[in-house]
């Protein structure tokens, strides 16, 4: 039911642009002069073999890592690097490859935590929990309940997330990211370790988030079927370099991509 968007023309303005970004850890070059952009309203996939630099790329985008060179433009504002806090404030939310939830807290509280940047009243007001602070809390709770309804996790609302199965924890993490009402949502392997049914559920949620909230999404994923079905455009990284950037159908046919995935030796003889 998803309208196929072809190439660059059907999409909106550039939301985030990465230009010539290079990142290295000591002697290891994680990213070498990578450039690409993410346009408003699209689902952008970043793929590549293990160790290609995908997660490093996401970490650069949301300010976890500071690149040695290059420029990132987000919502028209250029900078060399971001701080995670500033990125979150600016409207970038993410989920993690290895879950990063508050395990002892309930689903509800975890998602509510995602609202903390949106809370206007300070500590004092929140302790009193009266008047404007109460109004605000009711409003936040309503938003959280909408997300719970959206992700169909009402049954686990009051269960500590540490007791939930992995697939559901992933969903809670997505919920927490959504609670920030982000402009750009970064998903790091949202479907890793899931069975077919869970993957299909998750795919549906990702599409729904994109369509219903109009959220721009960048995702890293290993399951090629999922990537090709979901995304509007795909960036392919290999050994820290961009080797392709196109719509899914073209990427599938790209010689370089096929070579990277089939494990052709990379100059170094094995």
């Amino acid at each position: 039911m998803r309208a196929p968007s072809s190439g660059d023309t059907a999409l909106g303005e550039v939301l985030l642009a990465v230009e010539d970004v290079s990142l290295s850890f000591g002697g290891v070059r994680a990213l070498t002069a990578v450039s690409f952009d993410i346009r408003k309203g699209e689902i952008r996939a970043i793929i590549g073999p293990n160790g290609a630099g995908k997660t490093s790329m996401l970490n650069v985008v949301n300010g976890f890592y500071q690149p040695q060179s290059g420029r990132i433009t987000f919502k028209g504002e250029a900078r060399n690097s971001m701080r995670p806090y500033a990125a979150a404030r600016g409207g970038i939310a993410r989920t993690f490859q290895n879950l990063a939830l508050f395990r002892g807290m309930t689903t509800l509280d975890n998602i509510l935590a995602g609202r903390s940047l949106k809370m206007r009243r300070g500590f004092f007001w929140q302790v009193i929990r009266h008047g404007p602070a109460l109004t605000e809390e009711v409003e936040h709770r309503r938003r959280v309940e909408e997300i719970i309804d959206f992700l169909e996790i009402a049954a686990i609302r009051k269960i500590p997330v540490g007791r939930l199965p992995y697939g559901l924890q992933k969903r809670v993490e997505l919920g927490r990211a959504l609670a920030m009402e982000p402009d750009l949502l970064l998903l790091d392997e949202p479907m890793a370790g899931m069975n077919l049914e869970e993957k299909e559920d998750m795919s549906r949620f990702i599409i729904d988030v994109n369509q219903q909230y109009g959220t721009t999404i960048a995702l890293i994923e290993h399951d090629m079927g999922v990537v090709m079905d979901l995304s509007d455009r795909v960036v392919v990284l290999d050994y820290g370099r961009k080797i392709a950037d196109a719509v899914p159908d073209e990427v599938k046919k790209d010689e370089n991509v096929i070579r990277a995935y089939l494990g052709q030796p990379h100059g170094v003889s094995a």
Partner: protein
Amino acid sequence: MQSIDGSLDTLPKLLIHNAKVIGARPAMRQKDLGIWNTWSWAQMLDEIRAFSIGLAELGLKRGDKFAIIGSNRPRLYWAMCAGQALGAVPVPVYADAVAEEMAFVLAHAEVILAVVEDQEQVDKVIAVAERLPRLGKLIYDEPRGLKDYDRDRLISFADVQAIGRTKLTDDDECLARWEAAVADGKADDLSVILYTSGTTGRSKGVMLTHRNTIVSARNANAFDRLDQNEEVIAYLPLAWVGDYIFSFVQAYVAGYCVNCPEAPDTVVQDRREIGTTYAFAPPRVYENVLTLTMVRMADAGAIKRKAFDFFIGVARRWGEKILDGEKVPIGGRLLYAVGRLFVYGPVLNQFGLSRIRVAYTAGEAIGPEIFRFWRAMGMNLKQLYGQTEASVYITAQPDGEIYADTVGKPSPDVEIKISDKGEVLFRSPGVFTGYYKDADKTAEVLTSDGWVHTGDAGFFDAKSGQLKIIDRAKDVGRLNDSTVFAPKYIENKLKFYPNIREAVAIGADRDFVSVMINIDQVAVGSWAERNNVVYASYQELAAHPRVYDMIASHVDEVNRSLSEEEMVAGAQIKRFLILHKELDPDDGELTRTQKLRRGHIIDRYSPLVEAFYNGSSAAQISTQVTFEDGHKGVIAARVAVRDMKTYPVSATEMVRAA
């Protein structure tokens, strides 16, 4: 014919009456975004009327059929009544039916529009729409994900109501016309067509009139003294006659409040918040809750476990007697009171059963242990026997006359007789008018003088005077040596063990009885954890030798118990195996109401059945499975077959002595 008040002989008339008389009382609730929303009878009338007029504007007329597809949501119940107000007939369809099944029902019923819950159901209907030339608009409740769909076909529930509301304000005579249409409705108009899921063949559309359902509901309410103060939770499929009667007709007749859960998987939490007073569930619900309790207790600390065991013992000894108002010594009463404070009360509360006045189980035989457990805990659990063709009620157990192995006395206004072949027949005001567009099938079941063949074999118990059901009449067979073989009787004995979820007994026209078993993943999984049995999947757990040993001990006990009953002693289990996958309605192995489709299962697993009778100790099987989204896959496994010893009838005494 039973007479009913001419002014209150249809559901829409009852709705208007309730809105007038008890307008401010709650009629329905639904939890949404974590908050319970309530509609009073007056508000509900307003909602239904607006939708009904909207439907009329969309072209729904007297005699038209329209489909209702989805889970228990107020708007879907409203839609039924809204259509009935115009004289149209709702056809609720099982929401978890795959597109194929749905296509058959929608085409057969000739529905002209469908009110559906959400995108999932819209997709299913659109997938088969080509085969439904008469189908017009699809009205949906939940807009999510439907943004890019064909707008000519789809319209939201709220938009239909808006059409109705606009019409009401613009056209002064609209209200009077609608009320006149309601007044035109008669007791003998069709109230609903319910397609039975059917253990064999295509489903049949059971036609019930307003008279059928309202008289049945009125009798049932009087039997259990139900009034407007009851709270029930609607969670069973809309297409099932039980839900139609309990959550709709009985509620309209008594004026009680029906609560819709937030989501299908929040029922227990929602029930706990509401505190239902009148409940209905198939035995498997009571089983699951008991299994869950026992599994959790097994993990509890030693003191808690000891206290639990002690007080459960007290409850087993005195609980049922106290419930039935028998004489109990003061010491027993005191201990029971302490137990209620610390154990029974909290357990019932955990599952939202503290306020239950009347709870029924029906549909299948319930394990006597499970049945007695809940009664001992102080819950008034009773059995009833019913059918779609009877508007549910055939027999029910009156308070104080409760037995685990009977289904009760004839309900008010119901006559019962047993045919020469042992089949149960009944006649009542609730008897259906026929199967829709299927006169042949109707003639097979409904005699000219109003008796209905139930297809169940049963007899009246001499001691209690209550009806006992043994099995489906056609399923009772004989082994090659002409021993009587009642498969369900054996299966039920097995299923009473918490570790066994399903059992399929095979033996008709064979030399001996063999059984295919489905283990219960929760119970066996917890056992595995406590016994250091390592497994990665259901399949691996099912094939584990120690699981086989455990199940073998259950089968052995069943054989021993069978050997004690002369009628069935010859039909003991000689061989069994544990299936590598769970039986599932999506694979056509169970009906939508979770009953075995034995014939289909025997076909599907024919290599295993062969292995039973050619003496092999294992067999290779691969079966196609259907995932929830209709996607298909194959599961293959090598399944081992175990031999069991059987007990001679005479040996029983020796075993006892040993």
